[in-house]
């Protein structure tokens, strides 16, 4: 990873991409809230309060209250870490497995590549939600299992993308030059290919994080992820469903938070790609 840190930049001041700044601020703010949530939350997120059931947003309850009188704002705060953990955890898993597999599949022209790619074909042909269901249905639901399930679902997608990018780069002359020096396969992949593969991988990662959050929420919505009374956002939306007419804020608050988080992550990914690509940097 160190080779993406570009030397030779010192002395050159340049503005960060605005998408990176805004995406970073929002994601950072949500991450911060997820961490300090327990201390700043006005109420206990799981405390029932029958007297204030289904209250609309007010000064006392910013996002209103749910059917048990729990404070929706406090619950949303407490749920942020589920979504963040889900998105980043699952995607990190898919990267850790997908990048090496994809690079090997690109470099090797023999049976190993064939084996990896056919396995990927099989996995990719199963709908992701079904694959997640399969993993979760056979065991007791738990958040970490959801993360692993979602991460595994995205490994074949990551593998394919890395392989496609790697194949293109392996055809470049600078790789031939490395072969002409007798460089090892590992060096070629790590030092010549990977630094050039980051931009598409990062964009894909941002996209995957958002999908992972959505898929995780969907699994929770289906009752296979976080379990009540956890305030996972997908689960909150699921629980709000019967009250959608009377008290839309119960579902709206976690829904909007999801939305803002996803957009911010996408902006962040776009900004990172711009920052890391020296070709985009030299312009202007």
């Amino acid at each position: 990873m160190s080779s993406i840190a570009a030397p030779g930049e010192r002395g050159r001041s340049r503005a960060l991409p605005s998408s990176l700044v805004w995406g970073g601020i929002v994601v950072g703010a949500i991450a911060l809230l997820a961490i300090i949530g327990p201390w700043i939350a006005p109420y206990d997120p799981d405390a029932f309060s029958v007297r204030v059931r289904l209250q609309p947003p007010s000064a006392a309850h910013w996002f209103g209250t749910d059917e048990f009188g729990r404070d929706v704002f406090s619950r949303v705060l407490a749920g942020a870490h589920y979504s963040l953990g889900m998105g980043f955890g699952a995607t990190a898993l898919s990267l850790v497995l997908g990048i090496p597999l994809g690079l090997i599949a690109a470099f090797d022209r023999g049976w190993l590549s064939e084996a990896i790619m056919r396995a990927v074909d099989v996995l990719i042909s199963v709908p992701p939600i079904l694959l997640g269901l399969l993993v979760l249905a056979v065991t007791e639901p738990a958040l970490w299992k959801t993360i692993v399930a979602v991460g595994l679902v995205y490994v074949p997608i990551m593998t394919r993308i890395v392989r496609a990018v790697g194949l293109g780069l392996l055809a470049e002359d600078f790789v031939q030059a490395a072969r002409a020096r007798g460089e090892s396969a590992a060096w070629i992949l790590a030092a010549e290919i990977l630094p050039n593969a980051w931009p598409p991988i990062i964009v894909e990662t941002a996209l995957r994080i958002t999908f992972a959050i959505l898929l995780g929420s969907a699994l929770s919505f289906l009752g296979l992820g976080a379990q009540p009374p956890a305030s996972e956002w997908g689960l909150m939306i699921a629980e709000s469903r019967p009250f959608i007419e009377q008290a839309p804020w119960i579902g709206l608050a976690p829904g909007l938070c999801l939305c803002v988080l996803l957009i911010a992550i996408n902006l962040l990914g776009e900004g990172l790609r711009e920052l890391l690509d020296p070709r985009l940097r030299g312009r202007g």
Partner: protein, 688 residues
């Protein structure tokens, strides 16, 4: 640009004071600055200049196809008396035809050739579909495509590059245009195919009275087709006049520089090429004075004043124009001194390939599953013999030039001798030792490669210093601070300042990137370099500098090169010995002077006579033309060139492998023709 025959009718195309500018992030870029040119009816104008000089902007402006970001202004722009810009949409495609560089991009891959040519006939000419189809076939026949009906039904991918370009020309001719714009029409084609296309264009011009505007970087083809020449430099016309006089005695220092930088097949090794230092000026801030003066060897203080495009003294009557206050003076570019050659390529053998072969399988095993005959089975694997039993020798400090057309296997051979791809037959020896399929660090250090495409040969994520330092440390040549010093030394060796260390490839020009590629290859202090089309992507002025550099390095370091190129001029300039490849095999090999003059292998003869030369207009009579192209089918077992050979004897050529004739020791020709016949061939490069 006198036009005596058509006096009074005025030129067909008349552009006066055409300016084009593009909006960019750094302000307005003045791509064309008040250029004027006129093409008489039936006349042919050549437009030359290096990349970025504005040639293509002229073509796009004439067609009215400049995008939204472009601002076009002109004092007058008339086509046959009409306002060109007001009527651009109705003129283009009807009275003005156009042929671009890449025929593959010009044709829609999803439509048949016939339907693409017939479409404008129906659209613009109001023909019925059957009339248009008949006309299409007539057009395809006119541009020399055999079996025109079959071609009309074919899709672009079924045709070779030369056939596609013929089809594009047929399409451009469909609406009987008066003017044909040709933007680098043969740059993507092989030299023998290029010669066919140039013949075709010459014939069309004579038959149809077409006017041509030929945009090219190649002075040879411009000289062949055009009456008049316009030389563009950084958006300005620097010289204009009749092609013959202009190329004989160029008046402007830039044109003189271009001529001096050009390696010429007919001149062979002319000592030193004259590079033009520097690069194009910044067009966002056009220099009001002479914009070539920063690169010019004859610059004087008054050159910073605006220069007018006027006739040089004593040439007012010829209509010749030059934008230089010193035009007409005897201006000879300083020729860089010839270095002392310490190593002549006559030493001991360094690299010896013996019957090297490599085939490539076509398609995977799934594609071979066949159901013919009722039950599934695996059909035999289709293979291409890219390199077929090639033997060659490179001596210490010697340059072996390898020429041949695209697809002849020269790149594969270059990779085979470096063991970058494994051979499936033959042996390779380097410095007396057999090189295994997976050679060790010793061979890797001593044999290196320089690539064609400067954009893909450098890792865009590494700085110049990182790129050059890697082989230095990898092969243990230097470590730590000593390695940094070595990087600086290598940069100086390829004539770049050590200030380039921190730059990334995208911050370098094409010529600079190529130097970095050379420095990287030299970093391991090799004895042998494969230069795979190492100068083909560069402009002539830059190419001259890189060729001189490679020349110097050979002389100073004693490095031997396998110099692969399709450009015979370049090969003639650099090579001590030349090998000519055709369809995976070497058909002729010998000292450079012996290859470039008779006796020839018939393929060499055709190849050489297809080379467009500057100032060789009388050569047409002796031209040999090859029919078809490399991909035409041929029988196995016989001579690999028999299917296209203009001197084919008979079935013996198809069935029996040709014997190797050695007219003089070291000059080998594989041909069935008797040595006397070969010796009686006329010189294909003209009387040089």
């Amino acid at each position: 640009m006198a036009d005596p025959g058509q006096a009074g009718k005025g030129p067909l195309l008349d552009l006066r004071g055409l300016s084009v500018s593009y909006a960019t992030g750094r302000g307005q870029l003045a791509a064309l600055q008040a250029i004027s040119l006129a093409i008489p009816r039936g006349g042919a104008m050549g437009l030359v200049g290096e990349s970025g000089s504005g040639k293509s902007s002229v073509v796009l402006a004439i067609l009215g196809l400049l995008g939204e970001g472009a601002t076009v202004a002109a004092d007058a722009a008339r086509f046959d008396g009409e306002d060109l810009f007001a009527n651009a949409a109705s003129l283009r495609g009807r009275r003005i035809g156009v042929v671009f560089q890449d025929p593959s991009a010009a044709l829609n891959p999803a439509l048949t050739i016939g339907s693409q040519i017939a479409e404008p006939l129906v659209l613009h000419k109001g023909m019925s579909q059957s009339e248009a189809d008949a006309r299409t076939i007539a057009l395809l026949a006119e541009v020399g495509l055999p079996r025109a009906e079959t071609v009309a039904r074919a899709y672009p991918h079924q045709l070779s590059g030369g056939m596609k370009q013929r089809a594009v020309i047929a399409g451009a001719l469909a609406c009987e245009p008066d003017l044909l714009l040709l933007d680098e029409p043969t740059t993507a084609l092989d030299v023998t195919v290029e010669a066919q296309i140039l013949d075709l264009l010459e014939g069309l011009r004579a038959r149809r009275g077409l006017s041509l505007l030929l945009v090219s970087h190649n002075l040879g083809i411009v000289d062949r087709l055009c009456d008049d020449l316009t030389v563009l430099y950084a958006g300005r016309v620097v010289e204009q006049g009749a092609a013959t006089t202009l190329l004989d005695i160029p008046a402007h220092p830039y044109t003189r520089g271009l001529m001096g930088a050009l390696p010429r097949a007919d001149k062979g090794r002319i000592g030193r090429l004259v590079p033009i230092p520097g690069g194009l000026p910044d067009l966002t801030k056009p220099d009001p004075g002479c914009n070539f003066r920063t690169r010019c060897a004859f610059v004087e203080p008054p050159c910073s004043a605006p220069q007018a495009l006027v006739s040089p003294p004593g040439e007012e009557a010829t209509g010749r124009l030059a934008r230089c206050r010193r035009a007409g003076e005897e201006l000879a570019w300083p020729v860089p001194p010839l270095p002392e050659r310490t190593v002549r390529g006559e030493g001991e053998t360094l690299l010896e390939a013996n019957a090297l072969s490599r085939s490539f399988a076509l398609g995977g095993w799934l594609g071979r599953v066949s159901f013919a005959g009722g039950r599934p089975h695996l059909a035999p694997q289709a293979v291409v013999r890219a390199v077929d039993g090639v033997s060659l020798v490179v001596r210490k400090g010697e340059v072996l030039g390898l020429v041949g057309e695209s697809g002849c296997g020269k790149t594969t051979l270059g990779r085979l001798v470096l063991r970058l791809i494994e051979s499936d037959g033959g042996t390779l020896r380097f410095a007396g030792e057999t090189v295994p399929q997976r050679p060790g660090a010793g061979f890797r250090r001593r044999a290196q490669i320089v690539f064609q495409n400067p954009d893909s040969s450098l890792n865009p994520r590494k700085t110049v210093a990182e790129i050059i330092r890697r082989p230095v440390t990898l092969f243990g040549i230097a470590r730590g601070a000593a390695a940094d010093e070595e990087v600086d030394r290598l940069l100086t060796l390829v004539r770049l300042s050590p200030a380039y260390r921190g730059r990334y490839p995208h911050q370098l020009s094409g010529g600079e990137k190529q130097r970095i590629g050379i420095a990287r290859a030299l970093a391991s202090q090799p004895d042998f370099l494969v230069c795979d089309e190492a100068v083909s992507a560069l402009d002539v002025s830059v190419q001259a500098a890189v060729l001189n550099l490679l020349d110097d390095l050979r002389d100073r370091l004693g490095v031997a090169y396998l110099f692969i190129s399709h450009d015979i001029g370049v090969i003639a300039h650099v090579a001590d010995r030349i090998a000519v490849m055709y369809r995976g095999g070497v058909v002729e090999e010998g000292p450079a002077a012996a290859i470039l003059s008779p006796p020839y292998h018939p393929y060499t003869e055709a190849l050489l006579s297809a080379v467009p030369l500057v100032g060789a207009r009388g050569r047409a009579a002796s031209r040999i033309r090859l029919a078809g192209d490399v991909s035409s089918p041929s029988g196995a077992g016989g001579c690999r060139f028999a299917h296209r050979c203009p001197r084919r004897i008979g079935p013996v050529c198809d069935e029996v492998a040709p014997p190797v004739i050695e007219p003089v020791p070291g000059h080998r020709i594989a041909c069935h023709l008797p040595p006397e016949t070969l010796a009686a061939m006329p010189p294909a490069l003209g009387a040089a």
